[in-house]
């Protein structure tokens, strides 16, 4: 059974972080498991956690009354799920559902926010690597919007 | 070896060609323009006429000197005959649940092109490269080309819009013709200096009442040809032109010219080297008989670059750029030379007077470059 900071250290996303920052993060982290079909994030619910998927696939969905669930994206190993914890009102904008057995590291949003305030060097490094994730997501989303297969 | 033919004997050239079975195509005056059509007698030629050409302007006037070839080029080029505007490729007939295809075979005519200008001769050479030397030769072009006799008339007078000297295609034809003529009209004399460059040309020459030209007579011709070369209305700097245009592919000036260009396609119709065509499939009302035709086309149309969803070259800017870049840059990659022979037709017949020598100069200038 690995300790959390070992697990966090294995996550590709955090490879750039200082070991002492990883230790810092571990303080906000916990191991979670979701069964296939389980709702990981509910639209509108408080965004308490964000997740780094270690195993399995989670879909990001919007529910449309006419068309049912629209699957907009799937995230899997080493990918981040959830960013509504970053800014008020800290409420999730989308549903996320486990498509298989999912093992993830859950990071407590409020805990991370506090740590970023308390140690701004840590905060800068953390937000820097998180921004890169968001940029890639936005680029990919634009490609999807372009409807190239139209 | 240069020979001399007196103007009074010019008729013999025509009758000899006719006796040899040729239909003579040459310059005639029609609708205030000099076009190419059948010439049956010397009287059909536009004797004494000259042209004044400028961007978007073409005017004929009577010089009254009796010169048979005192003008340069009109809207027609020899592609009308070698690469006609409409050619049927095959016919198909439905039968027994399938169909049979009967390809059309070339039916060339024995044509003598009288009055080809050196620039136009070079245009034909460019087409030879495309239609006879590629992996998929055009049998119609090849057949008609082999049955065509070229009688070039060198230019002793530069046209208002042409620039053959810059393109190294004139004003005199160096090779590739059957017979070449240089017309000299002075106060008291009217004669032609003749040269042959092929067996057919030599045979024709031998049948004419010519005598070897005297040094003095040849000298007058040389002088006038040199004067024509020195008095070109336009120039085009062809040094590294392909590379200079390639590095100007996003130049601000393309926007300028596209505001003037109507994308009417006149330039592509009158250009002697433009060769784009389209394939059209037809059927009759019964649906039992179908035909495939090849027709002249122009890169200026929206349909030209259409693929499902839209045209790749949607804007006039892109279409003008395609035409210019093809003529002066990509043609070099494709066929080893420029696609422009400096005849000036596109400048004369453009309704808004766009001058490609001017546009090329602006596009490769350092000012306003992006």
């Amino acid at each position: 059974m690995k300790t959390l900071d070992v697990l966090l250290g294995e996550i590709e996303l955090f490879h750039e972080l200082d070991p002492k920052h990883i230790e810092f993060l571990a303080g906000c982290a916990s191991n979670v498991i979701f069964q296939a079909g389980e709702l990981v994030i509910k639209e509108g619910a408080p965004a308490k956690h964000f997740f780094i998927i270690r195993h399995g696939t989670v879909s990001v969905d919007i529910h449309d009354p006419r068309r049912g669930y629209l699957r907009l994206l799937t995230v899997s190993e080493n990918e981040v799920l959830g960013w509504s914890w970053m800014f008020p009102p800290y409420r999730s904008r989308f549903d996320a559902r486990a498509q298989s057995l999912v093992r993830a590291v859950a990071l407590d949003g409020a805990c991370i926010r506090q740590k970023c305030e308390d140690d701004q060097v840590f905060g800068y490094h953390f937000y820097k690597l998180f921004s890169r994730v968001l940029i890639h997501r936005l680029e990919a989303a634009r490609m999807q919007m372009a409807n190239v297969y139209g | 070896m240069a020979y001399l033919l007196e103007n009074n004997d010019f008729e013999v050239l025509l009758t000899t060609l006719q006796t040899q079975g040729y239909t003579v195509i040459g310059p005639v005056q029609r609708d205030h323009t000099i076009v190419y059509d059948e010439v049956r007698a010397v009287e059909d030629l536009p004797a004494g006429w000259t042209d004044a050409q400028a961007p978007g302007s073409y005017r004929l006037s009577d010089q009254g000197d009796g010169a048979l070839f005192g003008y340069t080029v009109g809207p027609h080029s020899w592609k009308r005959y070698l690469y006609p505007a409409s050619v049927r490729l095959w016919q198909a007939q439905r039968q027994n649940g399938t169909f049979t295809v009967a390809e059309d075979t070339p039916k060339p005519s024995k044509l003598a092109f009288l009055g080809m200008r050196p620039c136009d001769l070079q245009a034909v050479a460019l087409h030879d490269r495309i239609f006879m030397e590629s992996e998929f030769a055009d049998p119609f072009y090849r057949a008609q080309r082999q049955q065509a006799l070229f009688i070039v008339v060198n230019c002793t007078r530069a046209g208002g819009t042409c620039f053959c000297a810059s393109m190294d295609t004139g004003p005199r034809a160096k090779t590739g013709f059957d017979l070449s003529l240089t017309e000299i009209v002075t106060d008291d004399r009217h004669y032609f200096i003749l040269e042959s460059d092929s067996r057919r040309g030599k045979r024709l020459l031998d049948a004419l009442p010519v005598r070897p030209a005297e040094a003095g007579e040849v000298a007058v011709a040389e002088e006038r040809l040199a004067a024509a070369a020195a008095s070109m209305g336009r120039t085009l700097d062809t040094e590294h032109l392909k590379e200079r245009l390639e590095s100007s592919i996003e130049h601000a000036h393309w926007e300028d010219v596209s505001r003037r260009c109507l994308t009417c396609g006149n330039c592509t119709m009158v250009c002697p080297t433009c060769f784009c065509t389209t394939i059209e499939d037809y059927t009759d009302l019964s649906g039992e008989h179908a035909e495939r035709w090849r027709k002249w086309d122009s890169c200026f149309t929206m349909e030209f670059s259409y693929i499902h969803g839209g045209s790749v070259r949607y804007s006039p800017r892109a279409r003008y750029r395609q035409w210019l870049m093809h003529k002066l840059a990509t043609w070099v990659d494709q066929f080893g030379s420029f696609g422009c022979v400096g005849c000036g037709r596109c400048i004369t017949w453009c309704p808004v007077g766009i001058d490609l020598t001017e546009e090329a100069r602006m596009l490769t200038s350092k000012e306003k470059a992006r």
Binding site: R71, S76, Q144, Y149 | G97, F131, H308
Partner: protein
């Protein structure tokens, strides 16, 4: 320029707007082809269009052509029934470098209908499996309903010597696979960038972005191939319609090395 009548053996409805025609010769002569080449298909009296050959190059007795319904000719073709005739002229064009790829990992990145011109490559490399390293197929399309050759994809996916990853731009609640752009599959795909031949086919935008991801992973531009599409009439480099910078897509392409066309691909309306 003559077209040869072929008999329509079968029309397969692949998706709601995509279909495959299976053609066989009526005069006993088999038309052999290289993966990536196309034929000009003629519907009597209606017109002629270029369609990539999407079948097995080792079994050319039946020629497969897969296309979307996008215009008059494809609409007319879709309405034909078995036994009717389609005119065939070809094959034309350059082909995917299946020979040069021997000894390399082969990565196929397909977008939408782009899977069709790549399917012959897959048949070829699977027939000669021992000549190639890893074989990876990355396929992206708009939605689960648009997945082409679904049964075959499932069969390929079940093999142990082939990696198949499928993604859609958006899914519905019945879809439990990947959702996201196909380029997203490239960074994690199992191949060695330094010993890979990549073949990319799909909408031009998708090919541009896929090539960028492949380059980012370290695949040399010379080893990335794309298949271009332009308006075609004669298919033999004489009508001028298919020009793309200095190239005639019908005879210099449709398959190009990315390094060859990187520049014009980055220029708009060329």
């Amino acid at each position: 320029m003559r077209t040869t009548p072929f008999r329509l053996k079968r029309v397969i409805k692949e998706t709601f707007d995509t279909f495959t025609v299976e053609l066989e010769s009526t005069n006993g002569h088999t038309l052999s082809f290289e993966p990536g080449q196309f034929n000009m298909l003629y519907i009597f009296g209606v017109g002629e269009i270029p369609i990539s050959i999407s079948g097995d190059p080792f079994s050319p007795e039946i020629l497969h052509h897969t296309t979307r319904v996008v215009g008059t000719v494809t609409k007319a073709m879709r309405r034909l029934t078995a036994g009717e005739t389609i005119g065939v002229r070809g094959p034309f064009g350059s082909s995917w470098s299946v020979e040069a790829a021997r000894g390399y990992d082969v990565v196929l990145v397909a977008g939408g209908i782009g899977l069709a011109p790549l399917r012959p490559v897959l048949y070829h490399v699977l027939m000669r499996r021992e000549e190639y390293g890893k074989i990876v197929l990355l396929y992206g399309t708009r939605s689960p309903d648009d997945i082409l050759f679904r049964k075959e994809l499932e069969q390929w996916r079940a093999r142990f010597d082939l990696d198949v990853h499928v993604t859609v731009d958006y899914g519905d609640e019945k879809w439990h696979g990947n959702v996201g752009v196909v380029t997203k599959l490239i960074p994690k795909a199992p191949f060695d960038p330094l010993h890979t031949m990549a073949m990319v086919c799909g909408p031009e935008v998708m090919m541009r972005f896929s090539a960028a991801e492949l380059l980012k992973r370290g695949v040399p531009a010379d080893n990335i191939h794309v298949s271009m599409e332009r308006n075609m009439k004669c298919a033999v480099g004489l009508c001028g319609h298919c020009q793309f910078s200095s190239y005639f897509v019908c005879k210099d392409g449709p398959v190009f090395r990315y390094s060859q066309i990187q520049q014009p691909l980055a220029q708009w309306e060329v």
